[in-house]
């Protein structure tokens, strides 16, 4: 991978193509978690790759994971910028929600695709905070800075997202039992 990155830095087309082939699918799935519309997600993924190749000179390779981490960061920023421009993230300062505990046995038994479809049902604000905190591993402080909200708001959005997820899971379970 180190050689591919070094070649990409010199503008080698075949190296760029190889990198795109390796990461495009995963990055498209990531963008789809933030932006439901498939065409927009694809456009954001393309913009992300364009930025990645344009700024690759600044990237320092420290292992295979560093490539995907750098790329994911660019993609997440692209998605957040898109959501901000469209003003689709409406995060209101709400009352602090009680801590919610997600049922691990349920999540262990369902597939990644099912988890993604569950997250998709969340409202935009809850979904964005949930994605950033639970999946991307950002801290509440980082989320607050990215979404321009307070840390408390970020925490309450996450707890509400979890409550909603739990509710949807319970409804599904009742449906299966019936």
């Amino acid at each position: 991978m180190d050689e591919i990155i070094a070649a990409c830095k010199t503008g080698d087309k075949s190296a760029q193509k190889q990198l795109f082939a390796t990461y495009a699918k995963g990055m498209l799935l990531l963008c789809s978690r933030y932006v439901k519309d498939g065409h927009h997600a694809e456009e954001l993924m393309m913009n992300g790759f364009y930025k990645f190749f344009s700024t690759i000179e600044r990237f320092h390779y420290t292992g295979k994971d560093s490539v995907s981490a750098w790329m994911k960061r660019i993609m997440v920023n692209e998605c957040l910028m898109f959501l901000r421009e469209r003003k689709s993230i409406r995060i209101m300062a709400e009352e602090q929600a009680a801590d919610c505990v997600l049922d691990e046995t349920v999540f262990a038994s369902i597939s990644a695709q099912e988890i993604v479809s569950l997250i998709d049902q969340l409202p935009e604000g809850y979904r964005t905070v949930f994605n950033l905190f639970v999946i991307e591993g950002y801290s509440h402080k980082e989320i607050a800075a990215l979404l321009r909200v307070s840390e408390g708001t970020s925490k309450s959005q996450l707890n509400k997202a979890k409550q909603l997820l739990q509710k949807v899971l319970e409804q599904k379970r009742v449906g299966y039992e019936k």
Partner: protein, 167 residues
């Protein structure tokens, strides 16, 4: 702790799904579009390349502007007064100065302004003791400066009879 476990499961499953290295649908068309964008970027220089050009153009513009404005700033105080207050001095006085001194109209006006200034300052000096006695200037005195064209002729006649005669 239980909560973190559920989050850990979600994170792991989704990360595994997104680590899928198989080819994306429409890979060829998407790559050709991206490749074309990247090539376009290489051909067209970025905006940053234009910054020195803009800076140079701005400097040239400022220099030209400076050249146009320079002569006005270099005028002497009297010439500036003449340029700024052309209507203060009466035209006959200026034409007389022009005839006498055989100079250009602007210079003649400058001479006339100088004469006017001298006359006004000497008048002020003469009037100063009176001013100390009076709390407010008389209506005639105030009017003298509100009507500069008349004031000039009057002051000249009063204090420079010879000068006004020659002019």
């Amino acid at each position: 702790m239980k909560n973190n476990k559920a989050e850990e499961i979600i994170r792991r499953k989704i990360s595994e799904q997104e680590s899928d290295n198989s080819l994306i649908e429409d890979h060829a068309s998407l790559w050709s579009a991206l490749s074309a964008r990247l090539e376009e970027k290489e051909v067209v220089p970025s905006k940053r390349h234009y910054y020195p050009l803009w800076a140079a153009a701005s400097v040239v513009f400022l220099l030209i502007l400076g050249l146009f404005l320079y002569p006005k700033h270099k005028l002497s105080g009297d010439q500036q007064t003449a340029a700024v207050q052309p209507a203060v001095i009466s035209t006959p006085l200026v034409s007389r100065v022009q005839e006498k001194e055989k100079v250009k109209p602007v210079q003649a006006q400058a001479v006339a302004v100088q004469t006017h200034k001298k006359a006004a300052s000497s008048k002020r000096k003469i009037d100063e003791p009176e001013k100390k006695e009076q709390e407010a200037p008389s209506a005639d005195y105030a009017g003298l400066y509100s009507m500069p064209q008349i004031a000039c002729a009057e002051v000249q006649a009063a204090h420079y009879p010879l000068c006004s005669q020659t002019l």
